[in-house]
Symmetry: C2
Subunit: 224 residues, 2 copies
DNA sequence: GGCTTTACTTTGATTAGTCAAAATAAAACT
DNA sequence: AGTTTTATTTTGACTAATCAAAGTAAAGCC
């Protein structure tokens, strides 16, 4: 079995490569894992020895087939555990990320499959992130964000791509959970602001463009 | 936070000291943890530096107050996780010990408390072992075993003090789960055999004395 | 094209946990 | 009491993962 350190490296590489097979720069990986760059270099070389990644020196790192399989397995554990913590144990969705970071390395595939069944084989976790299938497939639909979408039509929040409890709490308090239907009332690139109105809410809500870019949306069906 | 190695040492010391504050010999601890004795000596000295155990050189080791608190916490996690795996995820009780060994080090107290509530604050795990309370109290009732109990009256199995999947499967197949009511028909010290009959079963069942000593019983109420 | 900045790699050291094997203390036999 | 056995401790070495700091390659910039 891979150590949880190895599992973490693979998971971060997967997340940083955005589904594609682009090279992940070493520095980015170091920052993401919160270790110094030298550490990443040594670890990546040993992962490469183990056939889990390809290392292009001075350029970056990319998952191999078997590294990718492993990384998707870890991600599946992470997201199913998060779903369990929120749906069954009723935990705050802003708190479950840290818990899942630990549990994803301790849970067996047997337990995972039972959890999956208990939850009804969910396709996305509470943040709206897609859960890889047991076969390692991940539905990688490309969504627009509040910063990039068209402004005309009503939108439904599908996903919040940010893990920090502060941001998630902010999102929750303002009703920006996956499923919420909203409408953009204004977007100013110069001010760096997006203003929107939630269905059923009285007040307008202003968001920085940076924050808006973390919220993925799809067109909401007209007048449900 | 204590590493999972530290947690394991403390848990094993707790289990080997049988609730009392007897000194646990280093060799026994080494065997129980499946490491060589030299490793235990070094680790125990560092645990002693951390104030978690008292080390009497060449004699053994004993938990301090704070070591005991930590160990009971780990044991609580272990047994609640086992209960969850059996009661909620419907896993085989003979398989859950190994799973819980991993999960006990990864689960937070917050998650644990929610699990505890979900399960209805159980007092014992599926093997009949008592679950320490959140305050670290453990109901340490002393039970007789099939090897030591009186033979006259009907008995109820309360606990199976053995973790190996083989033994647990054997027990399960022969209906010796906690709660089962049985009656001893014969016990021969010379042959090393105990023979018994389960309520509702047709056949007699023979057990070695060693195996019988792993099964704790209490007097069953007469004709329920 | 040469200088500077930035990103990455190397080197040497550290910590946690482990083993193998030699050394020692205590207990157990004659 | 002296010797043997057994349990424990010490010593030296190893692996995984890390950091600090020095070294190097590649881009970017006059």
């Amino acid at each position: 079995m891979a150590t949880s350190t190895v599992e973490n490296y693979l998971k971060h590489i997967l997340l940083l490569s955005e589904g594609g097979d682009a090279l992940v720069p070493m520095g980015l990986l170091a920052e993401s894992l919160d270790v110094v760059p030298g550490t990443v270099t040594t670890m990546v070389k040993s992962l490469a020895d183990g056939g889990l990644v390809h290392h292009r020196p001075r350029q970056g790192v990319r998952l191999t087939e078997s590294g990718s399989r492993l990384a998707l397995g870890v991600l599946r554990k992470h997201r199913l555990v998060e779903t369990f913590l929120v749906n069954v144990l009723k935990m705050d969705w802003s708190a479950v990320h840290a818990e899942a970071e630990q549990l994803e390395h301790a849970i067996s595939n047997d337990v995972l499959d039972r959890l999956d069944a208990l939850l009804g084989h969910p396709a996305v976790d509470p943040h709206g992130d897609p859960i890889p299938s047991r076969q390692g497939k991940i539905s990688s639909q490309v969504y627009a964000t509040l910063a990039t979408c068209s402004m005309a039509k009503p939108l439904r929040v599908v996903r919040v791509t940010e893990q920090s409890p502060e941001f998630l709490q902010f999102a929750e308090q303002n009703g920006l959970l996956p499923g919420a239907v909203i409408r953009i009332t204004d977007r100013s690139l110069t001010a760096g602001l997006v203003t929107l109105k939630r269905n059923g809410a009285k007040l307008l809500l202003a968001l920085s463009l940076a924050a808006a870019g973390r919220i993925l949306v799809e067109p909401a069906p007209q007048r449900a």
